[in-house]
């Protein structure tokens, strides 16, 4: 059994190529300790992130999703993250409607040089997800609880 079995949760990070992915890299190069729960998906820009990616990720069994892009005004494509900010803010406000705790999703901005900040964000977000524990699953072996919920509501 892997040492981390039962200790890790499934957290997905969508990071933009130009700033936040670089920031995470900087943190790695600087050997800053980080929790290992986060799996990174690199995207060209935070503006490329359809909020539905995040809903799909959460519905497919992730316990948390973190989005990070370039700071506003620093976007490689000038305005991608401005659009992203509006969409992500709406998502943040919408997901409680689905019965998903809004703390399971956060968005933020980290630049390529901010290795330290990346470490802080990942650590805090992971702690936040651990406090909530595993999310309700719609499928897979953990979905039994969900079936019970469904029966109770019918």
């Amino acid at each position: 059994m892997p040492v981390l079995e039962g200790k890790e949760l499934r957290i997905v990070g969508f990071l933009c190529n130009w700033c936040s992915y670089g920031g995470a890299d900087t943190a790695g190069v600087g050997r800053f300790t980080q929790p290992t729960d986060l799996r990174v998906i690199k995207v060209p820009c935070s503006g490329r992130i359809d909020p539905l990616f995040i809903v799909k990720t959460l519905m497919s069994g992730a316990d948390g999703v973190l989005v990070s892009g370039c700071h506003p005004n620093d976007c490689h494509y000038a305005e991608g993250n401005f659009y992203a900010r509006r969409r992500l803010e709406m998502l943040k406000r919408f997901i409680p409607m689905l019965g998903i705790d809004p703390d399971r999703f956060d968005y933020t901005w980290v630049s390529a040089s901010e290795g330290q900040r990346w470490q802080e964000v990942v650590t805090k977000f992971t702690e936040q997800i651990h406090k909530l524990g595993p999310a309700q699953k719609i499928e897979g072996p953990e979905a039994e609880e969900t079936l019970k919920l469904m029966e109770a509501s019918l």
């Binding site: 900010r85 803010e89 709406m90 406000r93 409680p96 689905l98 019965g99 719609i138 969900t146």
Partner: protein, 319 residues
């Protein structure tokens, strides 16, 4: 409708310039009206406008783009027309809008719940005060207040917000924005687990007929809908609650800042899933953050299609 003859006259006067005028007429039974495509004076004579005319006819407009089309609209339907204009899905010059002041439409689900089997309706008479029905030899009198659609109880725009011809008098609206969101607030008071369980149960009943999408005037990419696309493959063809639920979230998200709450999606749903709640949630948040309502100004830009460099109304998390 009191001024039906005036409306018919206006339509007849405009008919020679138009390829078709869309209104409503009698349907397969006396309890329903159906969309009606008028091309001749004889067609116009069959026009009816009353509380049974529930369909939002704006849904047909995008597919008729390029033709000269007349359309009869209630207040709520006119907002869909505005939204379509705003997004260049129709041309203002090609559309002639016949508007009126609306006193509300019935909710067929409420009638069904009150009467039971409505399979054999022999007669139906609607007035402002009640719906009189005769079903399988039995008479029913339903007060309008009991069967009127929820959206009409809190209607803020009963008069067409845009029109070329307006028939009859304007009607005064009394409801406030907040009045329309009481059901949503009630739902939001539930716990996270209760909400999750509620949707699992509701969405499990979905039969993936896509009537909700097809009835929606703002769902204009039906032929390329992500629900059926294999590239990208957003949803599987399985009848799994996950896919059905995801589809509703897709619908709601694609309507964020565009939905005018005409309620057609929920009305069209054969299994009465309260999917309007998702759309209301977006609208309420969009009003709060961007102080914006869809379907009022043909020149406005939906808030998710634009941005501000500083967003004073968005409070970001401090880490």
């Amino acid at each position: 409708m009191k001024n039906l003859e005036d409306l018919k006259k206006q339509i007849k006067d405009g008919l020679s310039e138009l390829d078709v005028v869309i209104g409503w007429t009698d349907s397969f039974d006396p309890l329903h009206a159906t969309p009606h495509f008028m091309r001749s004076e004889a067609d116009v004579d069959k026009l009816k406008v009353d509380a049974l005319c529930v369909h939002n006819l704006a849904t047909y407009l995008p597919s008729l783009k390029g033709k000269k089309v007349g359309i009869v609209v209630k207040g709520c339907d006119s907002r869909s027309v505005v939204e379509l204009l705003q997004e260049n899905l129709i041309n203002r010059d090609d559309v002639t809008i016949f508007g009126f002041g609306c006193t509300g439409v019935v909710d067929q689900t409420k009638i069904r719940r009150a009467v039971g089997d409505v399979g054999q309706v022999e007669a139906c008479e609607v007035s402002d005060a009640e719906v009189k029905l005769s079903v399988a030899g039995k008479e029913h009198k339903l007060p309008m207040a009991d069967v009127i659609a929820d959206k009409c109880q809190t209607c803020r725009y009963p008069n067409a917000v845009v029109s070329d011809q307006f028939v009859g008098d304007e009607i005064k609206a009394t409801a406030s924005f907040e009045d329309g969101y009481k059901d949503l607030e009630e739902f939001e008071a539930k716990s996270t687990e209760e909400k999750f369980g509620f949707w699992l149960g509701e969405m499990d009943r979905c039969i993936r007929c896509y009537a909700c999408r097809n009835a929606c005037p703002m769902c204009v990419c039906r032929d390329h809908c992500v629900a059926q696309s294999r590239d990208p493959h957003w949803l599987s063809q399985e009848a799994h609650v996950r896919d059905k639920w995801m589809f509703q979230v897709i619908h709601a998200y694609h309507l964020a800042g565009r939905c005018t709450e005409c309620g057609e999606c929920q009305r069209a749903c054969p299994v009465d899933i309260p999917i309007l709640l998702f759309k209301k949630k977006f609208n309420k948040e969009i009003k709060e953050v961007f102080n914006y309502e869809a379907g009022l100004d043909p020149e406005a830009k939906p808030p998710l299609q634009t941005f501000k460099i500083d967003e004073p109304t968005i409070k970001e998390k401090e880490w």
